[in-house]
């Protein structure tokens, strides 16, 4: 794993007119993003990943080696951020390509030996993630579309982890994933946090956030309506914040 780093958000405005937010997401922390669809939590996550430009403020990765401003996706990745997209089919998998290809596509340079890609190196890298995420793929050189949705998602997570990020941004990672796989993923996320990774998880399921996260940011009308931690993390508190009511 790369060095630990924290994600720092200063005066960030994600939509004109919304109030600015300031947050620090520390190594080892799991932060949940909740809110009704379209209230800014997804936009916030994409701004963190450098995929969308904010209306104001800045996002920086603060590592022991120095701070780095995140203004686009490439800078985000170079700064140690990995992003797992929401829609597997349109922005995740490469359907004609094998499981191995799908796993390695973001990190091709790590398999280079004597100027060419080494399939042995690639396979070795894949196998370590396969064991860690318990990916069930009978033949890693078969097209990724032969896998179940949950296993496709695990391959995409392996692709993101292969970047060895310090900060992992997950956009609804358990959408369309079976219950057994969900619990595997939860364990993986907890393990990563325990190793010092900072995780930001957007989820449409409140239970999932309450189960996993140390703190939750509830979005309403393009700004953080509530920040809930500790004993206050209960589903009625979160739902009340989502709908803009006092709990």
């Amino acid at each position: 794993m790369a060095d630990r780093a924290s994600l720092s958000v200063r005066g960030l405005v994600i939509a004109p007119g919304a109030s600015p937010m300031t947050q620090t997401i520390a190594p080892g922390e799991i932060v949940g993003l909740a809110g009704l669809d379209g209230h800014g939590q997804e936009r916030f996550l994409k701004v963190l990943a450098g995929l969308e430009r904010p209306a104001g403020g800045e996002v920086t990765v603060e590592a022991p080696t120095g701070a780095r401003a995140i203004t686009n996706f490439r800078k985000a990745v170079a700064g140690g951020i990995a992003y797992l997209p929401r829609d597997r089919r349109t922005t995740g998998i490469f359907p004609t390509q094998s499981v191995l290809d799908n796993f390695a596509v973001s990190t091709l340079s790590r398999d280079m030996r004597f100027g060419l890609l080494s399939f042995a190196a690639r396979r070795q890298r894949y196998e370590s993630y396969r064991d860690r995420l318990s990916i069930i793929a009978p033949r890693p050189d078969a097209p990724i579309t032969t896998l179940s949705g949950g296993n496709q998602q695990k391959v995409l997570l392996a692709r993101a982890l292969a970047l060895e990020p310090a900060i992992l941004l997950l956009n609804d990672p358990t959408r369309g994933v079976d219950v057994a796989t969900r619990h595997v993923l939860y364990d993986v996320f907890r393990g990563l946090a325990a190793d010092g990774m900072a995780l930001v998880i957007l989820s449409s399921e409140i239970e999932e956030i309450l189960l996993l996260c140390h703190r939750v940011l509830v979005f309403r009308e393009q700004q953080v309506a509530a920040e809930i931690t500790g004993d206050a993390m209960k589903s009625d508190t979160v739902i009340a914040a989502m709908f803009g009511r006092a709990a």
């Binding site: 349109t90 490469f94 004609t96 390509q97 290809d101 596509v105 973001s106 060419l116």
Partner: protein, 321 residues
């Protein structure tokens, strides 16, 4: 089971090679002298020329594009190389100039198509027409000049290299085939090419820069088209602006007969080579049987449709939901 087998890429390539071999056996049975050394040499040289011209089409088709400017670039390289060489230029400089211009045109094709999201069919057709017009204007429609003897010997049907009874072109294309296959399978460029063609929406998140990939790939396509144009100059002996025209549909046909899908993400250069052999065999066979070129053309159309309906079918819309 058999359906799955037909759908795997390797099976398509093997199938296309089998068709080529079957056609050759048929030709040998039907036409005396079909497998004579000279006939085979001619077949290999013609196939090699098409193979060079089809490299670029293979790459852009894997990317999910198409390149209609190939025949025009071939004609451009053919005429300009002859003209400049005739004007007394050193042939190395001639090639450098032709290749540099071709790469520039190709890069523009890719840049405009991807950068502005315009269908490459229209962009490459437009640039192709501009290039053809410019060449005609420059030569006044009557190109002159010829290729240096070395180029002619390199592609001559009667030529030989060392112990091999074929001209230098044939082994060079064989090596080139391995190189292209190696680049596609074992370099980051090759893997990104397939990924981008497979799902353009997911590519940027996998750190693939679509505009850059398209620019580079169309530049490569133009480079190989220019190379084919110079080789054709050696083959025919004199410059001819329309020399590339048959290659417009032949390169596309070779790529699809070889099992690539025009929607991107699939295909291989071995497949294209198989397609090239099938097309060359059909052509030679039918002309050898005494059919007129018009009939040969019609038969070619029929064979393309038959082969592609055998293994190049798309999925029904209900299967894509």
């Amino acid at each position: 089971m058999s359906r799955n087998w037909f759908q795997s890429t390797n099976a398509r390539v093997a199938g296309a090679f089998a068709v080529a071999v079957a056609l050759h056996v048929l030709g040998t049975l039907l036409i005396p002298g079909y497998s004579q050394p000279f006939a085979i040499r001619a077949l290999l040289v013609i196939a090699s020329l098409l193979a060079v011209a089809s490299i670029g089409q293979t790459l852009v088709v894997i990317l999910g594009g198409i390149d209609l400017s190939i025949p025009f670039i071939i004609g451009f390289a053919n005429v300009v190389a002859a003209q400049l060489y005739g004007d007394g230029w050193n042939f190395v400089f001639v090639c450098a100039a032709v290749v540099a211009l071709a790469i520039l045109i190709g890069a523009l094709n890719g840049l405009i198509s991807r950068g502005l999201d315009i269908h490459p069919l229209i962009v490459t057709l437009g640039t192709g027409m501009i290039v053809q017009g410019a060449v005609l204007l420059w030569t006044g429609g009557f190109p002159s000049g010829s290729a240096p003897a070395a180029v002619s010997a390199f592609v001559s049907i009667g030529g030989s290299v060392g112990p091999l009874p074929v001209p230098g072109l044939v082994p060079c294309v064989a090596v080139l085939t391995l190189l292209v296959a190696l680049v596609l399978a074992r370099t980051p460029y090759g893997r990104r090419l397939y990924a981008l063609g497979s799902n353009p929406g997911a590519a940027p998140l996998a750190l693939i820069d679509p505009v850059r990939m398209w620019t580079v790939t169309y530049a490569a396509s133009a480079f190989f088209a220019a190379a084919a144009g110079v080789l054709l100059l050696g083959f025919t002996g004199s410059a001819y602006g329309d020399v590339g025209q048959p290659y417009l549909f032949q390169t596309i046909a070779a790529v699809v007969v070889g099992g690539a899908a025009l929607v991107g993400g699939r295909g291989s250069y071995f497949g294209t080579i198989a397609g090239v052999l099938v097309l060359t065999e059909i052509n030679t066979l039918l002309i050898g049987l005494g059919f007129r070129p018009s009939t040969v053309q019609a038969a070619l159309g029929l064979v393309i449709v038959l082969l592609v309906s055998l293994y190049g079918r798309e999925r029904h819309v209900s299967a894509t939901i």
